[in-house]
């Protein structure tokens, strides 16, 4: 694998290989000396064109635990009107001999564009409203652990709801592709104003009524509702949104035995998820964060570890 741009183009076998390797990487987290020599001498640049504390930190720790040199570049505000083009910015960094770029960008397609310009490996750490593949992989990693823990392993026949701002979410696309490849059934739940165009052709079912599906779910994945959407007329008020689509105390009680709750964070407690739900035993929220480091170590090693890891 040369780049990780999305889960759409990832085969089931490649995804499972990353998840399996992440199991080994997760062991490192429990050691006193959290360091593998695997990527010693390799340089990874986290090029973040958008603020992100958790993803950037997670990638940085993953790189450091693999002994790579990781550098954070914050490059907000490069635009047509001021400064250099994205192409020039990335070619400049690439010319320094970087082995891999981890890219977060507010525009859809940015990681794909960069992969066509640079010689280094490119990992998409979230592009606009498009994909966020490592988030989907860590979600799957957490779910897989959970399913094993409750004695019902595997994704086949599992029902996962993704609830919230599907239109503007990069997490939803990556999760839909990955979970459906792994054999889970995905149901997307949102008001009509937040459903993406063409969703009828995705490998999912859809519902506007959260209550109609809640009792059948194995996983409820709650997506953050961003503040600017609240002002954007996609729904009348946070209160009304929470009433229809929030994981409230009432809905928490209707989840079946063994069902799990995921949230990619950061959470708006009281809007899409109640504190009762996020702090409940069913919540995988902090498992997800821990999984993130292991999965990103696995991805970095998969791209950079072998003979194929030498830059072009």
């Amino acid at each position: 694998m040369r780049h990780l741009l999305g889960t759409k183009d990832l085969s089931k076998e490649e995804a499972l290989a990353i998840l399996d390797l992440a199991e080994d990487m997760a062991q490192v987290q429990h050691r006193q000396v959290k360091k593998l020599p695997a990527l010693r001498g390799r340089t990874i640049v986290n090029a973040f064109f958008e603020d992100s504390t958790r993803t950037r930190t997670s990638f940085e720790i993953a790189g450091k635990w693999l002994s790579a040199d990781t550098i954070n570049v914050s490059a907000k505000g490069s635009s047509v009107s001021k400064g250099e083009s994205l192409r020039d910015t990335m070619l400049t960094l690439d010319a320094m001999g970087v082995d891999a770029f981890v890219i977060r960008h507010p525009s859809s397609g940015a990681a794909k564009q960069v992969s066509g310009w640079v010689g280094a490996h490119v990992i998409n750490a979230g592009d606009g409203q498009h994909e966020h593949p490592t988030q989907a992989l860590l979600d799957a990693f957490s779910m897989r652990h959970h399913f094993a823990k409750i004695g019902n392993p595997g994704f086949e026949g599992k029902r996962v709801a993704i609830v919230g701002d599907l239109l503007h979410s990069r997490v939803v696309r990556s999760n839909v592709y990955l979970l459906s490849k792994l054999g889970a059934e995905v149901v997307l739940v949102a008001p009509p104003t937040l459903m993406p165009a063409g969703v009828e052709n995705w490998p999912v079912t859809t519902a506007y009524d959260f209550d109609s599906v809640i009792s059948e779910l194995d996983v409820a994945m709650m997506l953050r509702v961003q503040r600017e959407r609240m002002a954007g007329g996609f729904f009348p008020t946070p209160r009304e949104y929470s009433d229809a689509y929030g994981l409230t105390l009432e809905r928490l009680r209707r989840l079946k035995e063994g069902a799990a709750i995921c949230h990619p964070g950061p959470m708006n407690r009281g809007v899409e998820i109640s504190s009762a739900a996020s702090d409940s035993a069913a919540s995988l929220v902090f498992d997800q964060v821990a999984s993130g480091v292991a999965v990103r170590m696995s991805v970095l090693y998969t791209l950079l570890g072998g003979e194929e890891g030498i830059r072009e």
């Binding site: 047509v80 994205l86 507010p106 525009s107 859809s108 794909k112 409203q129 696309r173 063409g198 969703v199």
Partner: protein, 422 residues
Amino acid sequence: MKYLISDVQLVSGEHTDLFVAEGSFRDPADASGDVTRIDASGLIALPGLVDLHTHLREPGREDAETIASGTKAAARGGYTCVHAMANTDPVADTAEAVEHVLEVGLAEGSAQVVPVGAVSKGLEGQELAELGLMARSKARTRFFSDDGKCVADSLLMRRALSYVTAFDGVIAQHSQDPRLAGAGACCHESEWSGRLGLPGWPAQAESVIVARDVQLAELTGARLHVCHVSTAESVEVIRWAKKRGIRVTAEATPHHLYLDVSNVEGYDTTYKVNPPLATNEHIEAVREALADGTIDAVATDHAPHNPQDKDHPFDVALPGMLGLEQSLAVVMETMLNPGRITWETLAERMSYAPARIGQVANQGRALAVGEPANLVLVDPSARATVDKNASLSRSRNNPYHGRELPDPVVLTMWAGDVTYGR
């Protein structure tokens, strides 16, 4: 220079000789003395093509295109006349500004340059530009457009339409509801926008403005021209309006006849354009409308951009693509060769109709004795793979690069002078 073009086929199918002297067609029987002979057997003569929609970028962005380079590209594409859009820097919103474009065109152009005047001051959509002063200037401007931006305010649009009826002007509208398709909108709203995560531009962002404008044209009795029609819904509205007798004309671009939304899959910003490339259903509707005359004219929306304005994320890069050099090729490929239009209709859509709409008296004329010698000689069977680096434009944002298309233009003549020949 005098030219005798022998054994050329006219769009009617008739074969003839054309004699050109002192800028006009003359009786071939008078061809004598120092005459350059052009053997045109196997070639078809079209009236010089007229483009209603060209961005020449001068003044302001001469790095991307100039009046000289843009009209060279026009001549390479078979055009003898282009309408220079007003969204230059400074904006062409005064008599002095349109006269400047006219004068540079006369001095340096390889085709006739007709300056388009802005509808609103600075294209800001707030106050009318000096429409009357532009109309009475040396440029005699009749064709006004804020293209690049929509005249979104209904009242301003009503006033503009009403005001230009005094001198039989026309308002050419870039139909884009700025709320339905806001600043970030860059992908035809469809399965593609959903999948690629690109902000969607619904087809209705165009057609609701067209529907409003044709009714305002009816209210005011004015002439409305709809730029770059790209959707089935807009076509239906225009069809309805024409049936009702409303004075509306419309244009379609080569790219909306040929390229579909799937081209944006790789986020190549060459394919970013306003309105966005649509699905085949819309392409088919536009082709049908061009064939039946609901859409009157082909217009290129030739929009040169340099890499520093294109090498950005898709939603940030500037919209627009080149069109002058491949326009005829695309119309042949999509309309003529499949038998949807004849050469006569092609001449109507690419020369006669746009000249009428733009009120350019000496363009879009028959190839007949006494008429101005504006023509293009076409090889109907030549084909070639488009190479963006072979362009006469200063820019390289050519969406046809690497595609095999007709390569028809052998020679272009404007007012009796050869402006392109290969």
